[in-house]
Amino acid sequence: MPDNTITLPVIDTGVIISLILVILIAYLFIRVITFTLVFISERVGHHRITVKMVLPLLKFSIYGFAIYYILIYIVKWESSQLVLFGGLFGAAIGFGLKDLFADIIGGIVITIEKPYQVGDKIKMGNYYGEVSDIGIRSTKLVTPDDNLVSAPNYLIFTQAVASANAGTSEMMIVIDMFIDSCSDPVLAMKILTESVMTSKYVYVSRNRPFTILLKDFPFYRRLRAKAYVNDLRYEFEFESDVTRRTWKEFSGNGIEAPNINILEAGTINQTNAS
Protein backbone atom coordinates (compact mmCIF):
# COMPACT_ATOMS: atom_id res chain seq x y z
CA MET A 1 0.00 0.00 0.00
CA PRO A 2 1.47 3.33 -0.98
CA ASP A 3 1.74 5.86 1.80
CA ASN A 4 -0.60 8.80 0.88
CA THR A 5 -0.06 10.77 4.05
CA ILE A 6 1.32 14.30 3.73
CA THR A 7 3.55 15.51 6.47
CA LEU A 8 3.13 19.19 7.27
CA PRO A 9 6.39 21.02 7.85
CA VAL A 10 7.27 21.91 11.37
CA ILE A 11 6.51 25.59 12.04
CA ASP A 12 8.51 26.47 15.09
CA THR A 13 9.23 29.82 16.72
CA GLY A 14 12.24 30.41 14.47
CA VAL A 15 10.13 29.98 11.33
CA ILE A 16 7.47 32.33 12.67
CA ILE A 17 10.05 34.98 13.52
CA SER A 18 11.65 34.64 10.06
CA LEU A 19 8.22 34.85 8.47
CA ILE A 20 7.34 38.03 10.34
CA LEU A 21 10.75 39.46 9.55
CA VAL A 22 10.38 38.87 5.80
CA ILE A 23 6.91 40.44 5.77
CA LEU A 24 8.19 43.38 7.80
CA ILE A 25 11.18 43.90 5.48
CA ALA A 26 8.91 43.72 2.42
CA TYR A 27 6.51 46.22 4.01
CA LEU A 28 9.29 48.64 5.00
CA PHE A 29 10.93 48.28 1.59
CA ILE A 30 7.63 49.18 -0.06
CA ARG A 31 7.18 52.17 2.25
CA VAL A 32 10.66 53.46 1.42
CA ILE A 33 10.19 52.96 -2.33
CA THR A 34 6.73 54.59 -2.22
CA PHE A 35 8.06 57.59 -0.29
CA THR A 36 11.06 58.00 -2.62
CA LEU A 37 9.04 57.68 -5.83
CA VAL A 38 6.29 60.00 -4.61
CA PHE A 39 8.93 62.52 -3.53
CA ILE A 40 10.67 62.35 -6.92
CA SER A 41 7.42 62.38 -8.89
CA GLU A 42 6.20 65.57 -7.20
CA ARG A 43 9.37 67.29 -8.39
CA VAL A 44 9.25 66.29 -12.02
CA GLY A 45 6.15 68.30 -12.85
CA HIS A 46 3.83 66.84 -15.43
CA HIS A 47 5.85 63.57 -15.64
CA ARG A 48 4.73 62.63 -12.14
CA ILE A 49 2.07 60.18 -13.35
CA THR A 50 4.68 58.29 -15.40
CA VAL A 51 6.89 57.94 -12.33
CA LYS A 52 4.01 56.88 -10.10
CA MET A 53 2.85 54.36 -12.69
CA VAL A 54 5.46 51.83 -11.55
CA LEU A 55 4.35 51.90 -7.90
CA PRO A 56 1.58 49.24 -8.00
CA LEU A 57 3.75 46.94 -10.10
CA LEU A 58 6.63 47.25 -7.62
CA LYS A 59 4.32 46.60 -4.67
CA PHE A 60 2.86 43.44 -6.15
CA SER A 61 6.30 42.22 -7.25
CA ILE A 62 7.81 42.75 -3.78
CA TYR A 63 4.92 41.08 -1.97
CA GLY A 64 4.92 38.27 -4.54
CA PHE A 65 8.63 37.72 -4.03
CA ALA A 66 8.19 37.80 -0.23
CA ILE A 67 5.48 35.11 -0.39
CA TYR A 68 7.59 32.98 -2.72
CA TYR A 69 10.58 33.33 -0.39
CA ILE A 70 8.52 32.37 2.65
CA LEU A 71 7.02 29.29 1.00
CA ILE A 72 10.20 27.98 -0.59
CA TYR A 73 13.02 29.00 1.74
CA ILE A 74 11.45 29.45 5.17
CA VAL A 75 8.54 27.06 5.39
CA LYS A 76 10.21 24.83 2.74
CA TRP A 77 7.03 23.33 1.34
CA GLU A 78 7.08 20.64 -1.25
CA SER A 79 4.63 20.40 -4.13
CA SER A 80 2.31 17.99 -2.32
CA GLN A 81 2.18 20.34 0.65
CA LEU A 82 1.46 23.26 -1.65
CA VAL A 83 -1.47 21.31 -3.14
CA LEU A 84 -2.80 20.71 0.35
CA PHE A 85 -2.33 24.36 1.20
CA GLY A 86 -4.16 25.29 -2.03
CA GLY A 87 -7.10 23.16 -0.95
CA LEU A 88 -7.20 24.73 2.50
CA PHE A 89 -6.85 28.16 0.95
CA GLY A 90 -9.77 27.44 -1.39
CA ALA A 91 -11.90 26.41 1.60
CA ALA A 92 -10.89 29.61 3.41
CA ILE A 93 -11.95 31.67 0.41
CA GLY A 94 -15.27 29.84 0.35
CA PHE A 95 -15.81 30.49 4.06
CA GLY A 96 -15.30 34.20 4.09
CA LEU A 97 -12.05 35.39 2.57
CA LYS A 98 -13.49 35.59 -0.94
CA ASP A 99 -13.84 39.38 -0.82
CA LEU A 100 -10.22 39.78 0.24
CA PHE A 101 -9.13 37.41 -2.49
CA ALA A 102 -11.27 39.25 -5.08
CA ASP A 103 -9.60 42.50 -3.97
CA ILE A 104 -6.12 41.01 -4.46
CA ILE A 105 -7.02 39.66 -7.89
CA GLY A 106 -8.59 43.05 -8.69
CA GLY A 107 -5.33 44.71 -7.66
CA ILE A 108 -3.34 42.42 -9.97
CA VAL A 109 -5.75 43.15 -12.85
CA ILE A 110 -5.44 46.91 -12.22
CA THR A 111 -1.63 46.60 -12.21
CA ILE A 112 -1.49 44.64 -15.45
CA GLU A 113 -4.41 46.11 -17.41
CA LYS A 114 -3.99 49.70 -16.14
CA PRO A 115 -7.61 50.93 -16.41
CA TYR A 116 -6.28 53.76 -14.22
CA GLN A 117 -2.99 54.68 -12.61
CA VAL A 118 -1.77 56.48 -9.52
CA GLY A 119 -2.28 60.19 -10.24
CA ASP A 120 -5.31 59.75 -12.54
CA LYS A 121 -8.66 61.38 -11.86
CA ILE A 122 -11.26 58.66 -11.90
CA LYS A 123 -14.92 58.06 -11.19
CA MET A 124 -15.47 54.73 -9.48
CA GLY A 125 -18.92 53.91 -8.20
CA ASN A 126 -20.18 57.00 -6.43
CA TYR A 127 -16.74 58.45 -5.88
CA TYR A 128 -14.68 60.90 -7.93
CA GLY A 129 -11.12 61.91 -7.17
CA GLU A 130 -7.40 61.58 -7.77
CA VAL A 131 -5.93 58.11 -7.29
CA SER A 132 -3.35 58.46 -4.54
CA ASP A 133 -2.49 54.79 -4.11
CA ILE A 134 -3.26 51.38 -5.58
CA GLY A 135 -2.76 48.85 -2.80
CA ILE A 136 -3.08 45.08 -2.49
CA ARG A 137 -6.66 45.37 -1.23
CA SER A 138 -7.95 48.81 -2.16
CA THR A 139 -7.51 51.89 -4.29
CA LYS A 140 -7.27 55.17 -2.42
CA LEU A 141 -8.88 58.27 -3.90
CA VAL A 142 -8.59 61.87 -2.74
CA THR A 143 -11.90 63.57 -3.49
CA PRO A 144 -12.20 67.27 -4.41
CA ASP A 145 -13.30 67.86 -0.79
CA ASP A 146 -10.00 66.31 0.40
CA ASN A 147 -11.64 63.16 1.73
CA LEU A 148 -9.62 59.97 1.48
CA VAL A 149 -11.81 57.21 0.06
CA SER A 150 -10.72 53.57 0.01
CA ALA A 151 -12.48 51.76 -2.79
CA PRO A 152 -12.05 47.94 -2.79
CA ASN A 153 -10.16 46.69 -5.84
CA TYR A 154 -12.84 44.15 -6.76
CA LEU A 155 -15.05 47.07 -7.91
CA ILE A 156 -13.07 46.89 -11.15
CA PHE A 157 -15.08 43.71 -11.98
CA THR A 158 -18.49 45.07 -11.10
CA GLN A 159 -18.42 48.81 -11.83
CA ALA A 160 -17.47 50.91 -14.81
CA VAL A 161 -14.46 53.08 -14.05
CA ALA A 162 -14.05 56.37 -15.90
CA SER A 163 -10.53 57.82 -16.06
CA ALA A 164 -10.62 61.46 -17.08
CA ASN A 165 -6.98 61.71 -18.12
CA ALA A 166 -5.80 58.12 -18.73
CA GLY A 167 -2.22 58.48 -17.58
CA THR A 168 -1.53 62.04 -18.76
CA SER A 169 -1.39 65.12 -16.58
CA GLU A 170 -3.65 67.22 -18.80
CA MET A 171 -7.39 66.65 -18.67
CA MET A 172 -10.35 67.89 -20.66
CA ILE A 173 -12.68 70.21 -18.82
CA VAL A 174 -16.15 71.13 -20.03
CA ILE A 175 -17.35 74.57 -19.00
CA ASP A 176 -20.93 75.65 -19.64
CA MET A 177 -22.08 79.26 -19.69
CA PHE A 178 -25.71 80.26 -20.12
CA ILE A 179 -26.69 83.55 -21.69
CA ASP A 180 -29.91 85.32 -22.49
CA SER A 181 -31.38 84.65 -25.96
CA CYS A 182 -31.26 88.36 -26.79
CA SER A 183 -27.48 88.64 -26.18
CA ASP A 184 -25.06 88.67 -29.10
CA PRO A 185 -23.93 85.01 -29.45
CA VAL A 186 -21.01 85.78 -31.79
CA LEU A 187 -19.47 88.26 -29.36
CA ALA A 188 -20.14 85.88 -26.48
CA MET A 189 -18.34 83.05 -28.30
CA LYS A 190 -15.37 85.32 -29.07
CA ILE A 191 -15.10 86.34 -25.41
CA LEU A 192 -15.32 82.75 -24.19
CA THR A 193 -12.74 81.65 -26.78
CA GLU A 194 -10.27 84.29 -25.62
CA SER A 195 -11.04 83.58 -21.99
CA VAL A 196 -10.15 79.91 -22.46
CA MET A 197 -7.02 80.49 -24.52
CA THR A 198 -5.62 83.13 -22.14
CA SER A 199 -6.27 81.22 -18.95
CA LYS A 200 -3.14 80.52 -16.95
CA TYR A 201 -4.27 76.92 -16.53
CA VAL A 202 -4.95 76.05 -20.18
CA TYR A 203 -2.97 73.52 -22.21
CA VAL A 204 -3.26 73.58 -26.00
CA SER A 205 -1.45 71.45 -28.56
CA ARG A 206 -2.25 69.88 -31.93
CA ASN A 207 -3.59 66.79 -30.15
CA ARG A 208 -5.24 68.81 -27.41
CA PRO A 209 -7.21 71.57 -29.14
CA PHE A 210 -10.02 73.54 -27.55
CA THR A 211 -13.55 73.93 -28.88
CA ILE A 212 -16.29 76.45 -28.24
CA LEU A 213 -19.85 75.37 -29.01
CA LEU A 214 -23.16 77.19 -29.06
CA LYS A 215 -26.58 75.62 -28.54
CA ASP A 216 -29.94 77.29 -28.66
CA PHE A 217 -32.60 76.46 -26.10
CA PRO A 218 -36.14 77.90 -25.94
CA PHE A 219 -35.35 80.60 -23.36
CA TYR A 220 -31.58 80.83 -23.31
CA ARG A 221 -28.39 79.89 -25.12
CA ARG A 222 -25.70 77.59 -23.88
CA LEU A 223 -22.03 78.21 -24.62
CA ARG A 224 -19.82 75.21 -24.01
CA ALA A 225 -16.05 75.33 -23.84
CA LYS A 226 -14.08 72.10 -24.09
CA ALA A 227 -10.45 72.63 -23.25
CA TYR A 228 -7.56 70.91 -21.49
CA VAL A 229 -6.23 72.00 -18.13
CA ASN A 230 -2.41 71.69 -17.96
CA ASP A 231 -2.53 69.70 -14.74
CA LEU A 232 -5.58 67.80 -13.54
CA ARG A 233 -5.02 69.17 -10.03
CA TYR A 234 -6.13 72.57 -11.33
CA GLU A 235 -9.41 71.26 -12.71
CA PHE A 236 -11.66 73.46 -10.59
CA GLU A 237 -9.34 76.49 -10.62
CA PHE A 238 -9.37 76.40 -14.44
CA GLU A 239 -13.16 76.23 -14.56
CA SER A 240 -13.46 79.04 -12.05
CA ASP A 241 -10.84 81.22 -13.79
CA VAL A 242 -12.57 80.94 -17.17
CA THR A 243 -16.05 81.49 -15.71
CA ARG A 244 -15.02 84.52 -13.65
CA ARG A 245 -13.14 86.30 -16.42
CA THR A 246 -15.80 85.49 -19.01
CA TRP A 247 -18.62 86.91 -16.89
CA LYS A 248 -16.58 90.01 -16.13
CA GLU A 249 -16.17 90.58 -19.86
CA PHE A 250 -19.79 89.63 -20.62
CA SER A 251 -21.10 92.24 -18.21
CA GLY A 252 -18.93 94.91 -19.84
CA ASN A 253 -20.31 94.00 -23.27
CA GLY A 254 -24.02 93.80 -22.50
CA ILE A 255 -24.23 90.02 -22.52
CA GLU A 256 -26.64 88.92 -19.85
CA ALA A 257 -27.55 85.81 -17.94
CA PRO A 258 -30.86 84.16 -18.87
CA ASN A 259 -33.85 85.99 -17.50
CA ILE A 260 -35.82 83.09 -16.12
CA ASN A 261 -39.44 83.47 -15.31
CA ILE A 262 -40.46 81.26 -12.41
CA LEU A 263 -43.22 79.73 -14.53
CA GLU A 264 -40.68 78.86 -17.24
CA ALA A 265 -38.13 77.37 -14.87
CA GLY A 266 -39.88 74.00 -14.81
CA THR A 267 -39.79 73.82 -18.60
CA ILE A 268 -36.07 74.56 -18.61
CA ASN A 269 -35.39 71.87 -16.04
CA GLN A 270 -37.24 69.40 -18.24
CA THR A 271 -35.22 70.48 -21.28
CA ASN A 272 -31.97 70.07 -19.34
CA ALA A 273 -32.97 66.64 -18.21
CA SER A 274 -33.69 65.58 -21.77
Binding site: H46, E194, M197, T198, V204, S205, N230, Y234, R245, E249
Partner: protein, 343 residues
Protein backbone atom coordinates in the same frame (compact mmCIF):
# COMPACT_ATOMS: atom_id res chain seq x y z
CA UNK B 1 12.90 78.21 -58.35
CA UNK B 2 15.53 80.88 -57.98
CA UNK B 3 18.97 79.82 -59.11
CA UNK B 4 20.86 83.05 -58.47
CA UNK B 5 23.98 82.68 -56.36
CA UNK B 6 23.49 84.20 -52.92
CA UNK B 7 26.54 85.76 -51.28
CA UNK B 8 26.69 85.45 -47.52
CA UNK B 9 29.09 87.45 -45.43
CA UNK B 10 31.59 85.43 -43.38
CA UNK B 11 31.45 87.99 -40.59
CA UNK B 12 28.38 86.54 -38.94
CA UNK B 13 28.94 83.30 -37.06
CA UNK B 14 26.51 80.45 -36.85
CA UNK B 15 23.56 81.62 -38.97
CA UNK B 16 24.81 80.93 -42.51
CA UNK B 17 22.09 78.41 -43.31
CA UNK B 18 19.37 80.66 -41.89
CA UNK B 19 20.61 83.64 -43.90
CA UNK B 20 20.65 81.51 -47.03
CA UNK B 21 17.02 80.48 -46.42
CA UNK B 22 15.92 84.08 -45.89
CA UNK B 23 17.80 85.32 -48.95
CA UNK B 24 16.20 82.54 -50.99
CA UNK B 25 12.75 83.63 -49.75
CA UNK B 26 13.56 87.24 -50.75
CA UNK B 27 14.68 86.09 -54.19
CA UNK B 28 11.47 84.05 -54.54
CA UNK B 29 9.42 87.10 -53.56
CA UNK B 30 11.17 89.17 -56.22
CA UNK B 31 10.29 86.57 -58.79
CA UNK B 32 6.62 86.72 -57.80
CA UNK B 33 6.10 84.26 -54.93
CA UNK B 34 5.26 85.84 -51.62
CA UNK B 35 6.81 83.95 -48.72
CA UNK B 36 6.51 85.72 -45.38
CA UNK B 37 9.25 84.76 -42.96
CA UNK B 38 9.14 84.19 -39.21
CA UNK B 39 12.46 84.04 -37.36
CA UNK B 40 11.88 82.35 -34.02
CA UNK B 41 14.23 82.01 -31.08
CA UNK B 42 14.62 82.08 -27.32
CA UNK B 43 15.49 85.43 -25.72
CA UNK B 44 19.16 86.40 -26.27
CA UNK B 45 19.59 83.79 -29.02
CA UNK B 46 20.56 86.27 -31.75
CA UNK B 47 17.37 87.21 -33.64
CA UNK B 48 18.30 90.87 -33.85
CA UNK B 49 21.86 90.04 -34.97
CA UNK B 50 20.44 87.97 -37.80
CA UNK B 51 17.98 90.70 -38.73
CA UNK B 52 20.81 93.27 -38.79
CA UNK B 53 22.68 91.07 -41.23
CA UNK B 54 19.63 90.67 -43.47
CA UNK B 55 19.10 94.42 -43.43
CA UNK B 56 22.76 95.01 -44.33
CA UNK B 57 22.52 92.60 -47.24
CA UNK B 58 19.34 94.15 -48.67
CA UNK B 59 19.77 97.76 -47.64
CA UNK B 60 17.95 99.38 -50.55
CA UNK B 61 15.01 97.01 -50.69
CA UNK B 62 14.09 96.91 -47.05
CA UNK B 63 12.42 99.03 -44.40
CA UNK B 64 12.75 97.99 -40.78
CA UNK B 65 10.66 98.46 -37.63
CA UNK B 66 11.09 97.33 -34.06
CA UNK B 67 8.66 97.12 -31.19
CA UNK B 68 10.03 97.69 -27.73
CA UNK B 69 6.81 97.50 -25.74
CA UNK B 70 3.34 96.06 -26.19
CA UNK B 71 1.36 97.68 -29.00
CA UNK B 72 -2.13 98.34 -27.69
CA UNK B 73 -3.71 100.18 -30.59
CA UNK B 74 -3.90 98.77 -34.08
CA UNK B 75 -3.45 102.28 -35.53
CA UNK B 76 0.13 102.15 -34.24
CA UNK B 77 0.97 99.51 -36.83
CA UNK B 78 -0.16 101.41 -39.89
CA UNK B 79 3.41 101.37 -41.05
CA UNK B 80 4.80 103.97 -43.48
CA UNK B 81 6.30 101.32 -45.71
CA UNK B 82 4.64 102.19 -48.97
CA UNK B 83 7.92 102.86 -50.78
CA UNK B 84 9.66 99.57 -49.98
CA UNK B 85 8.25 96.15 -50.59
CA UNK B 86 10.15 94.14 -48.00
CA UNK B 87 9.34 94.91 -44.38
CA UNK B 88 11.49 93.74 -41.48
CA UNK B 89 9.73 93.72 -38.13
CA UNK B 90 11.61 92.87 -34.95
CA UNK B 91 9.99 91.53 -31.75
CA UNK B 92 6.49 90.78 -33.04
CA UNK B 93 5.58 89.21 -29.68
CA UNK B 94 4.74 92.77 -28.63
CA UNK B 95 1.68 92.66 -30.91
CA UNK B 96 -0.48 90.77 -28.45
CA UNK B 97 -1.39 90.54 -24.79
CA UNK B 98 -2.43 87.30 -23.16
CA UNK B 99 -5.82 88.58 -22.02
CA UNK B 100 -9.38 88.80 -23.29
CA UNK B 101 -9.39 91.41 -26.06
CA UNK B 102 -5.59 91.31 -26.32
CA UNK B 103 -5.37 89.85 -29.82
CA UNK B 104 -6.96 92.59 -31.95
CA UNK B 105 -3.68 94.24 -32.93
CA UNK B 106 -2.14 90.90 -33.84
CA UNK B 107 -5.17 89.86 -35.91
CA UNK B 108 -5.01 93.18 -37.76
CA UNK B 109 -1.28 92.71 -38.39
CA UNK B 110 -1.73 89.12 -39.58
CA UNK B 111 -4.42 90.23 -42.03
CA UNK B 112 -2.10 92.89 -43.42
CA UNK B 113 0.67 90.30 -43.98
CA UNK B 114 -1.58 88.68 -46.55
CA UNK B 115 -1.00 91.63 -48.93
CA UNK B 116 0.49 90.15 -52.15
CA UNK B 117 2.79 93.11 -52.91
CA UNK B 118 4.65 93.06 -49.58
CA UNK B 119 6.96 90.59 -47.95
CA UNK B 120 7.21 90.49 -44.15
CA UNK B 121 10.30 89.20 -42.39
CA UNK B 122 9.40 89.05 -38.72
CA UNK B 123 11.11 87.94 -35.52
CA UNK B 124 9.33 86.29 -32.60
CA UNK B 125 10.14 85.16 -29.11
CA UNK B 126 10.01 81.35 -29.24
CA UNK B 127 7.59 81.01 -26.30
CA UNK B 128 5.17 83.62 -27.62
CA UNK B 129 5.31 82.04 -31.06
CA UNK B 130 4.65 78.55 -29.71
CA UNK B 131 1.68 79.82 -27.70
CA UNK B 132 0.23 81.81 -30.60
CA UNK B 133 0.78 78.98 -33.05
CA UNK B 134 -1.13 76.57 -30.83
CA UNK B 135 -4.04 78.88 -30.00
CA UNK B 136 -4.28 80.93 -33.23
CA UNK B 137 -2.33 78.90 -35.80
CA UNK B 138 -0.23 81.92 -36.81
CA UNK B 139 2.22 79.62 -38.55
CA UNK B 140 -0.16 79.63 -41.55
CA UNK B 141 0.70 83.27 -42.21
CA UNK B 142 4.44 82.58 -42.36
CA UNK B 143 5.32 79.81 -44.82
CA UNK B 144 9.04 80.19 -44.06
CA UNK B 145 9.73 79.55 -40.38
CA UNK B 146 13.29 79.73 -39.19
CA UNK B 147 14.09 78.42 -35.73
CA UNK B 148 17.49 79.72 -34.71
CA UNK B 149 19.70 76.80 -33.69
CA UNK B 150 21.66 76.56 -30.47
CA UNK B 151 25.35 77.30 -30.85
CA UNK B 152 28.00 74.62 -30.45
CA UNK B 153 30.93 75.26 -28.10
CA UNK B 154 33.07 75.99 -31.17
CA UNK B 155 30.62 78.56 -32.52
CA UNK B 156 30.43 80.24 -29.12
CA UNK B 157 34.24 80.38 -29.06
CA UNK B 158 34.44 81.88 -32.57
CA UNK B 159 31.66 84.35 -31.83
CA UNK B 160 33.20 85.61 -28.57
CA UNK B 161 36.82 85.67 -29.71
CA UNK B 162 35.90 87.56 -32.90
CA UNK B 163 35.76 90.66 -30.67
CA UNK B 164 39.40 90.30 -29.59
CA UNK B 165 42.80 90.26 -31.26
CA UNK B 166 44.73 87.03 -31.60
CA UNK B 167 46.25 85.99 -28.24
CA UNK B 168 44.75 89.03 -26.52
CA UNK B 169 43.01 86.82 -23.98
CA UNK B 170 44.97 84.61 -21.61
CA UNK B 171 43.36 81.27 -20.83
CA UNK B 172 44.70 80.14 -17.49
CA UNK B 173 44.37 76.67 -16.05
CA UNK B 174 43.78 77.13 -12.35
CA UNK B 175 44.21 74.91 -9.34
CA UNK B 176 40.78 75.80 -8.00
CA UNK B 177 39.10 74.26 -11.03
CA UNK B 178 41.21 71.12 -10.73
CA UNK B 179 40.05 70.84 -7.14
CA UNK B 180 36.39 71.14 -8.04
CA UNK B 181 34.72 67.86 -7.33
CA UNK B 182 33.09 65.84 -10.10
CA UNK B 183 30.45 64.46 -7.74
CA UNK B 184 29.02 66.91 -5.28
CA UNK B 185 26.60 66.34 -2.48
CA UNK B 186 24.03 69.11 -2.43
CA UNK B 187 21.16 69.71 -0.06
CA UNK B 188 17.55 69.96 -1.13
CA UNK B 189 15.23 71.64 1.39
CA UNK B 190 12.04 69.71 2.07
CA UNK B 191 9.22 71.09 4.19
CA UNK B 192 7.65 68.71 6.71
CA UNK B 193 4.18 70.08 7.21
CA UNK B 194 3.08 68.41 10.49
CA UNK B 195 6.08 69.87 12.36
CA UNK B 196 6.29 73.00 10.25
CA UNK B 197 10.01 72.37 9.79
CA UNK B 198 12.43 72.16 6.92
CA UNK B 199 14.99 69.41 6.52
CA UNK B 200 17.78 69.23 3.97
CA UNK B 201 17.81 66.02 1.97
CA UNK B 202 21.19 65.27 0.40
CA UNK B 203 21.34 64.52 -3.32
CA UNK B 204 24.16 63.91 -5.80
CA UNK B 205 25.04 66.43 -8.50
CA UNK B 206 27.52 65.54 -11.23
CA UNK B 207 29.67 68.26 -12.81
CA UNK B 208 29.67 67.08 -16.43
CA UNK B 209 32.04 69.78 -17.74
CA UNK B 210 34.55 68.91 -15.00
CA UNK B 211 34.22 65.23 -15.84
CA UNK B 212 34.75 65.96 -19.54
CA UNK B 213 37.78 68.02 -18.63
CA UNK B 214 39.36 65.24 -16.59
CA UNK B 215 38.69 62.67 -19.30
CA UNK B 216 39.99 64.84 -22.12
CA UNK B 217 43.03 65.78 -20.05
CA UNK B 218 43.87 62.14 -19.63
CA UNK B 219 43.68 61.75 -23.38
CA UNK B 220 45.69 64.97 -23.80
CA UNK B 221 43.27 66.31 -26.39
CA UNK B 222 41.46 69.38 -25.10
CA UNK B 223 43.21 72.67 -24.47
CA UNK B 224 42.23 74.90 -21.56
CA UNK B 225 40.64 77.23 -24.10
CA UNK B 226 38.36 74.44 -25.32
CA UNK B 227 37.46 73.51 -21.76
CA UNK B 228 36.49 77.09 -20.94
CA UNK B 229 34.20 77.37 -23.94
CA UNK B 230 32.76 73.92 -23.30
CA UNK B 231 31.86 75.08 -19.80
CA UNK B 232 30.34 78.32 -21.10
CA UNK B 233 28.39 76.27 -23.62
CA UNK B 234 26.99 74.01 -20.90
CA UNK B 235 26.04 76.88 -18.60
CA UNK B 236 24.42 78.93 -21.40
CA UNK B 237 22.74 75.91 -22.99
CA UNK B 238 24.08 76.99 -26.39
CA UNK B 239 22.43 80.41 -26.26
CA UNK B 240 24.95 82.87 -27.81
CA UNK B 241 23.64 85.94 -25.99
CA UNK B 242 23.71 84.23 -22.62
CA UNK B 243 27.17 82.81 -23.40
CA UNK B 244 28.49 86.29 -24.08
CA UNK B 245 27.11 87.59 -20.79
CA UNK B 246 28.67 84.67 -18.88
CA UNK B 247 31.96 85.33 -20.66
CA UNK B 248 31.96 89.01 -19.71
CA UNK B 249 31.05 88.18 -16.12
CA UNK B 250 33.84 85.60 -15.84
CA UNK B 251 36.57 87.54 -17.65
CA UNK B 252 39.03 89.51 -15.55
CA UNK B 253 40.65 91.18 -18.53
CA UNK B 254 42.79 89.80 -20.06
CA UNK B 255 42.63 86.61 -17.95
CA UNK B 256 39.96 83.99 -17.87
CA UNK B 257 40.01 80.89 -15.68
CA UNK B 258 37.61 77.92 -15.71
CA UNK B 259 36.86 78.25 -12.00
CA UNK B 260 35.35 81.70 -12.60
CA UNK B 261 32.61 80.28 -14.84
CA UNK B 262 29.95 79.32 -12.34
CA UNK B 263 26.91 77.23 -13.07
CA UNK B 264 24.44 78.82 -10.71
CA UNK B 265 21.84 76.11 -10.47
CA UNK B 266 18.63 77.70 -9.28
CA UNK B 267 16.36 76.28 -6.70
CA UNK B 268 13.19 77.96 -7.92
CA UNK B 269 10.32 78.02 -5.47
CA UNK B 270 7.31 79.87 -6.81
CA UNK B 271 3.56 79.55 -6.45
CA UNK B 272 1.29 79.31 -9.49
CA UNK B 273 0.64 83.03 -9.93
CA UNK B 274 4.33 83.85 -9.58
CA UNK B 275 5.14 81.18 -12.15
CA UNK B 276 2.53 82.60 -14.51
CA UNK B 277 4.05 86.09 -14.26
CA UNK B 278 7.48 84.58 -14.90
CA UNK B 279 6.02 82.89 -17.97
CA UNK B 280 4.66 86.23 -19.22
CA UNK B 281 8.07 87.87 -18.76
CA UNK B 282 9.82 84.97 -20.50
CA UNK B 283 7.41 85.18 -23.45
CA UNK B 284 8.17 88.86 -23.92
CA UNK B 285 11.81 88.91 -22.62
CA UNK B 286 11.12 92.37 -21.26
CA UNK B 287 7.81 93.88 -20.14
CA UNK B 288 6.53 96.87 -18.18
CA UNK B 289 5.08 96.27 -14.72
CA UNK B 290 1.79 97.92 -15.66
CA UNK B 291 1.49 95.57 -18.66
CA UNK B 292 1.90 92.58 -16.35
CA UNK B 293 -0.91 93.98 -14.17
CA UNK B 294 -3.08 94.42 -17.23
CA UNK B 295 -2.49 90.86 -18.41
CA UNK B 296 -2.91 89.16 -15.06
CA UNK B 297 -5.82 91.29 -13.87
CA UNK B 298 -6.10 92.76 -10.43
CA UNK B 299 -6.67 89.52 -8.63
CA UNK B 300 -3.15 89.23 -7.36
CA UNK B 301 -0.53 91.74 -6.46
CA UNK B 302 2.02 92.15 -9.18
CA UNK B 303 4.53 94.23 -7.19
CA UNK B 304 4.93 91.51 -4.58
CA UNK B 305 5.39 88.90 -7.29
CA UNK B 306 8.00 90.97 -9.11
CA UNK B 307 9.86 91.42 -5.82
CA UNK B 308 9.77 87.66 -5.26
CA UNK B 309 11.05 86.89 -8.77
CA UNK B 310 13.80 89.45 -8.42
CA UNK B 311 14.77 88.09 -4.97
CA UNK B 312 15.23 84.61 -6.42
CA UNK B 313 17.52 86.00 -9.13
CA UNK B 314 15.19 85.24 -12.02
CA UNK B 315 14.54 88.72 -13.40
CA UNK B 316 16.17 92.11 -13.59
CA UNK B 317 14.06 95.09 -12.63
CA UNK B 318 14.39 98.76 -13.39
CA UNK B 319 12.55 101.65 -14.97
CA UNK B 320 9.18 100.06 -14.04
CA UNK B 321 9.90 97.05 -16.20
CA UNK B 322 11.15 93.49 -15.82
CA UNK B 323 13.59 91.53 -17.95
CA UNK B 324 14.56 87.89 -17.82
CA UNK B 325 17.98 87.50 -16.23
CA UNK B 326 20.14 85.89 -18.94
CA UNK B 327 22.05 83.59 -16.57
CA UNK B 328 18.76 82.28 -15.17
CA UNK B 329 17.21 81.52 -18.56
CA UNK B 330 18.09 77.82 -18.63
CA UNK B 331 16.70 77.19 -15.14
CA UNK B 332 13.55 79.22 -15.80
CA UNK B 333 12.73 77.27 -18.96
CA UNK B 334 13.24 73.93 -17.19
CA UNK B 335 11.04 75.07 -14.30
CA UNK B 336 8.19 76.35 -16.51
CA UNK B 337 8.32 73.25 -18.69
CA UNK B 338 7.85 71.11 -15.61
CA UNK B 339 4.74 73.14 -14.75
CA UNK B 340 3.57 72.90 -18.37
CA UNK B 341 3.31 76.65 -18.67
CA UNK B 342 5.55 76.70 -21.68
CA UNK B 343 4.70 74.10 -24.27
Amino acid sequence: MVNEKIDISDEIIGFQEEILNIQTAIAEFESGHNLNVAIISEPYAGRTTLLNEIEKMNLHKIIRFSFSSIVKNKDEIILPYQSKRIVLIDDCQFLFMRKIGGFEVLEHFLNSTAAPDKMFITTWNFYSWKYLDEVMKIGKFFPVQINLPKFTAGQIKDSILSGYKKEEIEFVEDVEFEKERIINFKKYPVAIKPWNKKINLPYIRIDYSGLKFRLSKKEKRATIEDIIFEKIHNVSNGNPGVAKIIWLRSLKYPIIKPSRIKDESLNIELDYNESFVLNIILSMKSIKNEEISEITGLDFEVDKIIFQLSKQGLILTGDCSCTIKPEALKGIIEFLKKLRMVW
